[in-house]
Symmetry: C2
Subunit: 405 residues, 2 copies
């Protein structure tokens, strides 16, 4: 957006309409006076916009008792029936599909194991089959499906929908959006999983839409999403927030899927914990994992490491503490640089028993600069396995013409 971009009546009207729509989505059922107060417009202006939204099938009105008076008042709500969205979370282990209405009500869910077939084209076929299935099984009218958003981890160029680089899938320069759009009769968007995750968090915590929020996914890999001034943060080349590839161990040889060494993901992710534990068992280190794996170290997962640590296995406790320390170091850097209001930690690693989250907090505070980010809150985000898929369904603005903004 240019510095000298003109503000005119058309843009002003569009902004106001969008505000009314979003306000009804957030607070509905809500009456005209309450909307007018929230969006700082007059009641007649609200009524004009509301009539337009009702005609477009996005909003419904009904006489409902007012909260204070109990008298019947015209209340506006989002109409869930006219527009449906599909969100797809292509994870390293599982692919999830969610179908929702404009009111965010869930109409269908589907998941299956992510199988990496030899060519990417076959992979895309499987994703499209899943999309068709979740729509078919829900029984909704296909004509109401207004968009599909497919997410995966890695560097995604959001305006073109190209997968620039997805280390954990080994993909480089794949025109994913184009391939999916060719196979489907719906508008398609492709996004990074972490952007969908941060959108899920800010949509489900009241007030976060006005805040500066960084969201970190701690699972098989480690990624981030950043929400600032009411929008997702996109860098100059459409990448950004790659906290997983922050160098946290300056002299480490630990190889990362991205090609570097010493990255946070290589040192502290679920995949890293499993790899380090497997290696230790192969090298004959003293740990309960040796017996647990019954001679097959490849079976060891990050979950096993957490379980053994709970049983006071010293090696596993040290491994988890080291992981927490590296994550704390990366969060301290993020706070020093970005000074957000909130950081949400999400993902599978936080589902384990033990004090992993508290250890991360302790190290973050130790390593962040004195008084930098004084207001930051570090919180556990949603651990719902559907959060990325549901976040993806919220990546559609309510006005179709902005689909690719």
């Amino acid at each position: 957006m240019g510095k000298y971009q003109r503000m005119d009546k058309h843009k002003m009207a569009l902004m106001n309409k969008r505000n009314v729509m979003n306000c009804i989505a957030e607070y509905g059922p809500i009456n005209r006076a309450a909307i007018a107060k929230k969006v700082e417009l007059s009641v007649p202006a609200i009524m004009e916009i509301a009539q337009e939204l009702i005609q477009q099938g996005m909003v419904v009105s009904a006489k409902m008792p007012g909260k204070l008076s109990g008298k019947p008042l015209e209340q506006f709500s989002i109409c869930g029936d006219h527009f449906r969205y599909v969100g797809v979370d292509v994870g390293r282990v599982t692919t999830r599909f969610a179908l929702v209405g404009l009111d965010h009500g869930v109409l269908g869910k589907l998941k299956f194991p992510t199988i990496q077939v030899e060519n990417e084209s076959g992979f895309v076929d499987r994703i499209c089959q899943g999309i068709h299935r979740v729509i078919d099984e829900s029984g909704v009218d296909k004509a109401t499906v207004a968009g599909v958003c497919v997410t995966m981890p890695g560097l995604i160029e959001h305006d073109t929908g190209w997968v620039i680089f997805s280390p954990n899938f080994g993909w480089k320069d794949i025109p994913l959006k184009q391939w999916i759009a060719q196979r489907l009769p719906y508008p398609v968007r492709v996004e990074s999983a972490n952007r969908a995750q941060v959108i899920y968090e800010i949509s489900t915590h009241k007030g976060d839409q006005d805040r500066t929020v960084f969201c970190v996914g701690l699972g098989y890999g480690i990624g981030g999403g950043f929400y600032y001034k009411g929008q997702l943060y996109y860098g100059a080349s459409g990448t950004s927030c790659e906290i997983g590839h922050m160098r946290v161990a300056n002299h480490s040889d630990e190889p990362c899927s991205c090609g570097n060494t010493g990255c946070l993901e290589a040192e502290a992710s679920g995949a890293a914990l499993a790899r380090k534990a497997q290696r230790a068992v192969r090298e004959g280190r003293q740990t309960a994992l040796r017996d647990m794996c019954e001679g097959d170290p490849d079976r060891i997962t990050a979950r096993w490491v957490f379980d053994a640590a709970e049983e006071n296995d010293e090696f596993c406790r040290a491994l988890i503490d080291q992981s927490a320390r590296y994550i704390g170091s990366a969060l301290a850097t993020t706070i020093n640089l970005l000074d957000p209001d909130k950081i949400y930690l999400c993902g599978g690693l936080l589902k384990n028993k033990g004090d992993f989250f508290q250890r991360i907090l302790k190290y973050t505070v130790e390593m962040q600069m004195y008084q930098a980010g004084r207001k930051v809150e570090i919180l556990t985000g949603s651990l719902d396995e559907w959060n990325v898929a549901l976040g993806a369904t919220r990546l559609f603005p309510y006005f179709g013409e902005d689909l690719n903004d």
Copy 2:
């Protein structure tokens, strides 16, 4: 700013007026048709706004030959005479004062060594004396001084003008703006030096105002400033961009002025190079610095380290290479997280002979994630010793009511 903030005609008019003013400041002398094209407004609208600005004494018009036709055309320029600003750069070694007009023409300069007197109040007295002197010596009418902006390194809360923490000055919780405002008859702003630096860079490079720009100051200390979507980036608690306190050496005991260890500033700044070299000489390490300092290691500065490295002193070459590597690591992290269009490196460390800048570039590319920040350019910024003081004079918006925005 709330999500549902109303856009109305008054705000629209203010935005358009500011656009016209900024456009004349950037491109003047400029005629009405050219302004109209740049700010996307009609010629009559431009004429109305220009008349207002002329009446307020901010803009002057003159008949000047048009660039293409050579015919006399009414051209608009900023009037430098009615508003003057003082920018103050309180550095660790030198304090600099610059007085400029609204057209950015320099009307006076003054510098003196920064002496840390026992109490902060005496220190503030000295700053205010300098401000009075630079105005007096220039002979301008005091009534035209529309603002003073004082900058220093560290965590500055920009809305209150408190110095939250300035490690290199040892200051914590000082109401600097209030103390200065009590002593001066001018509107006062207090900012971080690195924010003034990035504003100087984006103002002096055409097109940068529309870009995402990170600026790093590499001198006695190390700090950063970030410019995004046409504005300075302020974090939730008014801090942010503390690249100097990013942990780059995860197992280092090197103490930082902030209280932590292993920070970029503790490992790679001018102060760090001097301290490491002094220690090495005291410990009897093999280096030409031993003879150069004639028995007094305390005399060794970062400049000496660069000079000896140019003479192929191995110890000094290794020290500089290590510094470049740490800076590269911090830049790689900044790119992975923020994916800016441009990074400017400024400050005294870059004034030395040798391939320091090239080494930094090499390590940055080595350590940044594959394909992250594909469009980022890393450039040498201004090495003018006045850039922070001049940047500070540009931290005043043209409309007084927004002074403390």
